[in-house]
Symmetry: C2
Subunit: 356 residues, 2 copies
Amino acid sequence: MPPSSSPPVLAQAPFLRACWRQPTPYTPVWLMRQAGRYMHEYRRLRQRVSLLELCKTPELAAEVTVRAVERLGVDAAIIFADILLILEPMGLQLAFAAGEGPVLHNPLRDASDIGRLREVVPEESLAFVLQAIALARAQLKPEVPLIGFAGAPFTLASYMLEGGSSRHYARTKAFMYRQPQAWHALMAFLARNTARYLNSQIAAGAQAVQLFDSWVGALSPHDYRTFVLPHVRALIASLPSQVPVIHFGTGTAALLELMREAGGTVIGVDFRVELDEAWQRLGAVAIQGNLDPAVLLADLAYIRQRVQRLLAQAGGRPGHIFNLGHGVLPATPEEHVVALVEYVHELSAREASRAR
Amino acid sequence: MPPSSSPPVLAQAPFLRACWRQPTPYTPVWLMRQAGRYMHEYRRLRQRVSLLELCKTPELAAEVTVRAVERLGVDAAIIFADILLILEPMGLQLAFAAGEGPVLHNPLRDASDIGRLREVVPEESLAFVLQAIALARAQLKPEVPLIGFAGAPFTLASYMLEGGSSRHYARTKAFMYRQPQAWHALMAFLARNTARYLNSQIAAGAQAVQLFDSWVGALSPHDYRTFVLPHVRALIASLPSQVPVIHFGTGTAALLELMREAGGTVIGVDFRVELDEAWQRLGAVAIQGNLDPAVLLADLAYIRQRVQRLLAQAGGRPGHIFNLGHGVLPATPEEHVVALVEYVHELSAREASRAR
């Protein structure tokens, strides 16, 4: 479906055209965590403000968002925020311990905790994200699309139940298997609130949204179908059909067809599956990915070679959005990220002009 | 190839017959970490001795090995040990911090560190493992096979380079991409020494061996083929063909065909791929797996239902060894593990008698 709501200059943006599988003069590229700790300027800012302060100060969040686009020359901006922000107005106490990742001080422990979760009105409790989107949209060049995002229900539920990151998701799965009714109530709650949040982001100025189901690869296909798919489908169905939705996960090599079934204009795949195989399995859908972020730790010649290989796998088909398989790693040299974007543009444009 | 070296009573053991895809009266089952923290008796023992002390005291390691079989009624024993033990005689300083997993105090930092690694003579520096195997073999009922094991080269290399567990394997991959020659030298070293170690375990009394490539699922298929496969193939080719080799990994949904290409009598798969799909892709090979260990946190009725489902996926084909997709989780109720083994035996025997 062609984008009808974006202004004309945006509708022609390679990133948005690729979402709809329309031909582009080169392969559009953006990077998960393109504004982040690998960047000198970002680290300097974070010496002054915490992650939560940064997220909650619209001027700063917008600035970080826009500066990353200017520095890298990527084809889309993604609003600087965190997938866990939505958990605070639900009633969870969120903190980011230095070097240890997110911590929730009052994780869900039983079914009764779910009944106490509060519905989120993004215009009230997440207004800072919507303001950051409006500010970033106003500051970005008019032809650069802005991506909004949210965590998907399973990934959010895993943080709510584990109280932070997890290796085995034992509490999450135990809850899912032992209390399926309460699980489905939690997932429906999260799907409903996340849809509301993403709709607000779109209203505030986002031209596309990404749904991060970062940890859903911890599930078997059977469990995904039973415990996750209906909720993601309901969530995506609640978003406007003219706005592209990128449906992303990691470790999803066995889940791709089911993720597609759940929905999404674009399916985001990580590096654990080869791009050409993923695309063959997924069929007529746009695909985002999937360079291993660790490749950016190698030297430039090697990075260039891996970009070339990935573009060859995409084979010049319309609908490829170049990205990493997961976020930029903090140890990545900043100039390697700049070079990556240049390589994608240069090598894909050459391929595209050869194809004409 | 039929087993020719095991004594007759062992050659008829369902576990070994299943390795060779011979029919069995029921589906054999054993569990990764079947002797471990979920067990009351084990936890009591560990109050007195550390993990390393336990591994290095053959009488205790053998006792823990044998007691788990007696408690659970599983169809195979696996020697109590740790995949990282082999790193100490190579020159790495190994410790297990309480609750934090393994730590290597002098991880590899550059190519020159590889030249300083020492070749391992298992009969000298790992004699305690071989003695534990001999003791356990003598104490086990004669019809119960004993499995030896080792870490596979990639998984060992990741610990050596990261200095412990890892989420992104950034150091490992950076080394692999930036210094491919040194990487291949490290992998060849690990393959050679691991083969020697497994051969010693077989000589000491193991009837089968499992190769744990637990973290290889962090790699793309392309990287697996380039940086790992040749070394695993060389390793497995160095083992006696009449001893079954279980080739195991997690997160390997996109790697299964390549793992099979590398070798193994049995391919061990985790729960992230459905068993029937995995087997269809793998073709004529035995398969081990693949219940999500978190299912054991559910109630007994649910566990039974999931066992039934998994056995239905295996479809009574010879060559299925029931196991979890990864080790038993510490929070697992002991009686659930006992029940699991009973369910596998009962339900698969019923299926087998129905098929006759």
